[in-house]
């Protein structure tokens, strides 16, 4: 099972992306997308943004579960109060685990926002953030 995770800003600009594989049940945590698949990941996630924008007004909660399907892949979304979208591309259903993962990343994201040198919609380049996201992925996914 492989995951592609992206954070998209208010202007539909990518702020952060990462790939991981599942660490559960014998997985080694390394993403296994086929080569062609990998380049498609960004497009799939990007195209689901439209759907996110439609659906966001219907849900009162931040976690929007699965919003889009493409072939055998699903896109789950978490929308923050500042209209920042956390998108996860995955091939199997795992609602609860994904929700916990999103909550953790949301926590990390708010801490990043508290940094006075970080402005909204800036790319997140901090190694600390990267490490912690990967840790959360290992824990839940």
């Amino acid at each position: 099972m492989s995951f592609y995770f992206a954070i998209v800003g208010t202007k539909d600009n990518p702020i952060y992306e990462a790939e991981f594989g599942t660490s559960k049940q014998g997985g080694d945590g390394v993403a296994r997308f086929r080569e062609e698949q990998r380049s498609m990941n960004q497009f799939i996630v990007h195209s689901s943004l439209d759907i996110v924008e439609e659906v966001q007004w219907a849900t009162p909660t931040m976690y929007m579960k699965c919003v889009d399907k493409f072939n055998n892949l699903q896109v789950s979304c978490f929308l923050t109060a500042g209209n920042i979208k956390f998108l996860l591309l995955h091939d199997q259903k795992a609602d609860d685990a994904i929700r916990q993962f999103f909550t953790d990343v949301y926590d990390l994201y708010t801490k990043t926002l508290m940094n006075p040198f970080y402005e909204v919609d800036m790319r997140i380049t901090s190694g600390v953030f990267d490490g912690k996201v990967k840790q959360a992925a290992k824990k839940y996914l």
Binding site: K111, M114, N115, P116, F117, T125, S126, V128
Partner: protein, 191 residues
Amino acid sequence: MSATKAARVGEDVWKTRIDKVNAELVTLTYGSIVAQLCRDFEGDYLEVNKQLEKMGYNIGLRLIEDFLAKTNMGKCANFRETAETIAKVGFKVFLNITPTVANWTTDNKQFSLIFEENPLADFVELPDDGRAQNELWYSNMLCGVLRGTLEMVQMQVDAHFASDILRGNEVTEMRVTLVRIIDDELPPGED
């Protein structure tokens, strides 16, 4: 005044006579000051350090009166007592932290303040442009505050940071040096 007595006074005043404000508000306000200065001076971090120190100096000039009014303290007998008072009472009353006093020189004119926690720098990561890590002292306003307050009680000091956790060092350490004791000013025509 011994260290324990100073700690007790600090704790006491903190509990009874201080209005409290949300710590995150202070952190975010200070953070936006520094970030704005960095933007205004376009990355001239040495100049930002100087401005922070100047702002701190102006704060210190007024802060000392507030401090004396709240703690009812008189003059300290020597520089060692001053150091303990700053660490255990001053910082406690205004920031609710108690840095440790260490690394005294043999002539008792220099000491270090070791900060285990620094509420001004919570959640902060210095920008990644290669220079901030080497040039910017994020909490430099504290140095100015010390300089201003001590100048109002007749001590001229020099305070600067020696290391900072934000820069990757192990501890945040400020070095304070007594330059000279300022004599009372005489009215004109009388010396």
